[in-house]
């Protein structure tokens, strides 16, 4: 392989190489340092005169005397069955002291888009055991549902609880977990690793770790490596895969860093104009393919800078993913775990996975009624602060009360508490029964007669 020593400029993570033979766009590049160390990069721009290479590691040690080797192929990831149970670096190298991965296949990490026509409809209900997800923001197999959190909130515990408890009722198959950490601290990483080891989840997990002190640019490929692995497990080996990506905010920061180094015209808040397309290239790698057994379900986690949901990172994410689980600082301060605020949370695929044949016929309407009740009660809290409780009408007082018990009984649950969907829905009815029946305008009479505790018991007494 030809080696060039024609570096003309090095700026941030970018290396500019002159006078090369034709080099392909997106090609993998090896950079050989004077001591023989090899760093990896990728071609971002190629022309007769100049090739721009983005280096995935720190550019420390690269100089005009470094050699550049163009490999002639795009970045490929060796994948194999024995990846399960392994811990890899953010660049895909084993870091658990074990042997190299025995590749059964080498796959392009960019991943091609699934033809929309070939996609299967995601409609298998996943029971996470968390009421605020199962009951009101139901997850289905093949969905991508991010957790929008803030600094200092327990999003990691929630993600772990989901990873540990998720199952499809009636199916014996456990989920395989692909975990990709981008720029998180060693401590956070340990927290995940210990939990994986304690619960035995590591055996069916593949872990990619790019820690806070690893090169930021490496974060650009970490999620792509993780998703390439997930696609292999799902569509080649037929497994159901849960992918946890944390923290996507760090990924986007890395993206901005490269954009700035290339002197691109920045978009909102300095993030590159193509961030939507770039994020879509990650998040859209979830789903089901018709006629194939496996599936990929994604849980990206991101911390919203300043808890601002309109920040470009959560904003663009929300436009691509199928809903979001919003972790609330207010509920966290009240000491409620999991502090999921159901009001801004949403699962767009919920209706595909609930109702008769999936969960229970009353699911949708119970969920809507609880949402409406909680929203109304929550609004009234602002009013109470001004006029006091006594000035409220009797109806308003009932909804105010409903908001409180909703938070304390429905939202609040234990870190290890695994509620079935029946438990969750029955709990919902118990809460709704504190409101007068005529206020339950979103539920048809038949369902009320069948499930409402008052009529349920009356029916039993008569029977």
């Amino acid at each position: 392989m030809k080696e060039y020593r024609t570096i003309s400029q090095i700026a941030g993570p970018l290396v500019f190489v002159e006078k090369t033979e034709p080099v392909g766009y997106n090609e993998l590049v090896n950079i050989v340092l004077f001591d023989g160390t090899i760093k990896r990069g990728q071609v971002l721009d190629t022309s007769d005169e100049l090739v721009v290479v983005q280096v995935f590691e720190t550019t420390a040690g690269i100089g005009k005397d470094s050699g550049i080797r163009f490999t002639g192929e795009t970045i490929k990831m060796p994948v194999g069955r024995d990846m399960l149970g392994r811990i890899l670096s953010g660049g895909g190298k084993p870091i658990d002291g074990g042997p190299e991965i025995v590749p059964e296949k080498r796959l392009d990490i960019t991943g091609a888009a699934i033809n929309p026509y070939a996609r299967g409809s995601p409609n298998d209900f996943i029971q996470t055991g968390i009421s605020t997800i199962d009951g009101t923001n139901t997850l289905v197999r093949g969905q991508k549902l991010p957790i929008f959190s803030g600094a200092g909130l327990p999003h990691n515990q929630i993600a772990l609880q989901i990873a540990r408890q998720s199952k499809v009722p009636g199916s014996k198959e456990a989920f395989a977990v692909v975990f990709a950490a981008m720029g998180i601290t060693k401590e956070e990483a340990n927290y995940f690793m210990q939990d994986f080891e304690r619960t035995g989840a590591l055996e069916r997990a593949v872990v990619f770790l790019n820690l806070a002190d690893d090169p930021a640019v490496e974060r650009i490929i970490t999620p792509r490596l993780a998703l390439t692995t997930a696609e292999y497990l799902a569509f080649d080996l037929g497994m159901h895969v849960l992918v946890i990506l944390t923290d996507m905010t760090n990924y986007c920061e890395a993206l901005r860093q490269i954009g700035a180094a290339r002197e691109e015209v920045p978009g909102r808040r300095g993030y590159p104009g193509y961030m939507y397309t770039d994020l879509a290239g990650i998040y859209e790698r979830a789903g089901i393919v018709k006629g194939k057994k496996g599936s990929i379900t994604q849980f990206p986690i991101l911390t919203m800078p300043g808890d601002d949901i309109t920040h470009p990172i959560p904003d663009l994410t929300g436009y691509i993913t199928e809903g979001q689980i919003v972790v609330s600082r207010e509920l966290h301060r009240k000491g409620i775990y999991p502090p999921i605020n159901v009001l801004p949370s949403l699962s767009r695929l919920m209706n595909l996975g609930i109702g008769k044949g999936h969960t229970r016929e009353d699911h949708k309407k119970v969920s809507d009624q609880m949402y409406a009740g909680y929203a109304e009660g929550n609004d009234l809290r602002g009013l109470v602060a001004i006029v006091g409780k006594d000035a409220l009408s009797e109806r308003d007082r009932m909804f105010l009360e409903f908001a409180d018990i909703f938070e304390n009984r429905f939202v609040r649950q234990g870190y290890a508490e695994d509620r079935t969907i029946e438990d969750t829905l029955n709990l919902g009815w118990d809460l709704l029964s504190t409101l007068p029946v005529e206020q339950l305008v979103r539920i048809d009479r038949d369902l009320i007669n069948k499930y409402h505790p008052k009529f349920r018991q009356a029916g039993k007494a008569e029977g």
């Binding site: 026509y117 909102r268 859209e284 801004p344 929203a375």
Partner: protein, 588 residues
């Protein structure tokens, strides 16, 4: 002669000079703006978007990874065009009219590159029935025959760019879209298929004023903020406010004869929902699958960005083609913001001077050109057809002041303001009744008078007034509580609540409530009006607001939504309302 072809050939082939993402530079071809070119050894499809000295800048519709400088570029000399003819309906295309089903056969479940597939099936034979005889005079746009494509009759027209003349020969029978079915005395040979460049609007005889509403079966739309056939509407919405569901409801239920749905840069799974649901959905009018009158264009967010840019043009050209046959077409573009972002991405790769928020300075011009292709028209053949355009915009952070929303609002006549607050409260469709508007109310006034009831326009204004009043009263309630309001205004609040919960809220997932015709809308609103009139009358007769609010029979009103044959139940409620209020008044 030989020299000439040689020269043409050397002009048509050049080499690649630079590759940076979806934008590449070539030299050595004599190209014109928007010519389609084949890029690299794999002949990826691209389009010329800028000419700069020797350099020809090309946007490529497929992934460019691995392409090197020095690879060949071939100019086809043609503009990006779509194939129009029998076979369009029920099709699912990507942004450049490649049928996705064919792509699955050719390259598997994932979109690979370098595969071309024609928009129409060129092997399938269609039964052509001539409608003109030999010797007849035809002009551009004239209908010369028809094909029963699905339950829709596909009318075969003289292409707008073919000169008119006298029919020399025409034959019925079974033909492919390429076979000559008709010849004219001027030498023109016509097949069932015609091609049309996507960036050029198809010509019409005359643009007409829109006077007929597009009935959607959605109460807040038809009742309060109607769009006319041939009109334009925008649905902006922060994410999670139910924009996609609203658009899908429109596609399913609107009374347009043809639906073109463009999924532009949207989610794969949601596209799948559309792709699996549409074929299963029954057309409420014909009982046939809805898909039989639908063309879907799906270019998900992770498919190539240049093809996303082209997808809205592909869609509107197909819509115009059906309009020219005399059909009412509704086109949904979800979402035009993704389209604008594709323009921005390409513009920034071209290193153009950016306008507001990085969008190119020509954003407003492109948006208005697109919406201007909507309209109710007298077609070239003398019939009437329409294209209604409903575009979704996705303002970042729900901020309506951003350039795409603002430039769209300057053009469209209807605005359905989706509101995240309402959707959090599970008020669906989450369309804010205070911020939305329709500028078609005046031009549609007569239609409602004639087709629904002369009372409708009055009752509509009444409902809007109550809702407006409620908004003002709510500000007071926020401060002092509802009990502190004067009695009459407590009733206003209750009536407004009923309008909101009974009339405006509509359940898209309920088999009955998902579609509500104008007759039922009118009857429902009338029942609420009846309660209102009785309530105010009772209040002036001395009945307390508490008694008025707790009238039992009105609690049954919300259930009307879910009953198909609602009339008997509604009559019963209305009779009970009268009785209850009579009792209250006599007691007072």
């Amino acid at each position: 002669m030989e020299v000439k072809t040689e020269k043409a050939k050397s002009d048509a082939t050049g080499v690649l000079k630079r590759i940076a993402g979806p934008v590449v530079t070539a030299v050595g071809i004599n190209a014109h703006m928007y010519d389609v070119v084949k890029v690299g050894k794999e002949e990826l499809m691209g389009e010329v978007i800028k000419i700069q000295g020797e350099n020809i800048i090309i946007q490529v519709y497929e992934d460019t990874a691995g392409i090197r400088p020095g690879e060949p570029v071939i100019n086809t000399g043609l503009s990006l065009a779509v194939e129009l003819g029998p076979g369009l309906l029920t099709s699912i295309y990507d942004g450049i009219q490649r049928p996705l089903a064919v792509l699955v056969q050719k390259m598997g479940d994932f979109i690979e590159r370098g595969v071309s597939a024609p928009g129409l099936d060129h092997a399938k034979k269609w039964e052509f029935k001539p409608l003109v005889k030999e010797g007849a005079r035809v002009s551009p746009g004239s209908i010369i025959g028809e094909v029963q494509e699905t339950n829709i009759v596909h009318r075969i027209m003289v292409p707008p760019n073919v000169k008119g003349g006298t029919v020399k020969s025409i034959k019925g029978g079974s033909f492919t879209v390429d076979e000559i079915i008709c010849t004219l005395d001027n030498g023109a040979e016509l097949a069932m298929m015609q091609k049309w460049p996507v960036r050029v609007p198809r010509p019409v005889n005359e643009k007409m004023n829109p006077t007929v509403p597009l009935i959607t079966g959605q109460r807040i739309l038809d009742g309060l903020f109607p769009i006319a056939k041939g009109g334009t509407a925008a649905i902006p919405g922060p994410f999670g406010s139910g924009k996609t569901v609203t658009q899908q409801q429109l596609a399913k239920w609107s009374d347009a004869e043809i639906v073109v749905y463009i999924g532009c840069g949207e989610r794969g799974n949601e596209m799948t929902e559309v792709l699996t649901e549409f074929p299963e959905l029954e057309d409420p009018k014909t009982g046939k699958p809805l898909m039989e009158r639908t063309v879907l264009i799906a270019n998900t967010s992770n498919m190539p960005v240049a093809a996303r840019e082209a997808s809205v043009y592909t869609g509107i050209t197909i819509a115009e083609y059906f309009r020219d046959m005399g059909y009412d077409v509704s086109l949904m573009a979800d979402s035009t913001s993704r389209w604008a972002e594709a323009m921005r991405e390409i513009s920034s790769r071209l290193e153009e001077m950016p306008g507001e928020e990085g969008y190119p300075a020509y954003l407003a011009a492109r948006l208005s050109e697109f919406y201007e292709r909507a309209g109710r028209v007298k077609t070239l053949s003398g019939g009437m057809g329409s294209v209604s355009v409903i575009g979704a915009v996705s303002p970042p952070g729900g901020d309506f002041s951003e350039p795409v929303t603002q430039n769209t609002l300057r053009i469209v006549k209807v605005f359905w303001a989706l509101d995240a607050k309402l959707s959090q409260r599970r008020h669906f469709p989450a369309i804010n009744w205070l911020n939305s508007y329709s500028l078609y109310l005046d031009s549609l006034h007569d239609w409602y008078d004639k087709e629904v009831s002369p009372e409708w326009n009055v009752i509509r204004s009444w409902a809007m007034e109550i809702l407006q009043k409620e908004a003002e009263l709510q500000e007071i309630v926020q401060l002092v509580g509802s009990d502190a309001l004067p009695e009459a205004e407590q009733i206003t609040i209750e009536v407004a609540r009923m309008i909101r919960e009974i009339f405006l809220q509509q359940n898209a997932y309920d088999a009955v409530d998902t579609f509500c015709d104008m007759k039922k809308q009118y009857d429902m609103m009338k029942a609420i009006r009846q309660y209102s009139d009785l309530a105010y009358a009772a209040q002036s007769a001395g009945v307390t607001p508490q008694q008025i609010v707790s009238v039992k029979s009105k609690n049954e009103l919300p259930q009307i939504k879910f009953i198909k044959d609602y009339k008997p139940a509604l009559d019963k409620i209305q009779a009970e309302l009268d009785e209850e209020f009579n009792a209250l008044r006599s007691a007072a």
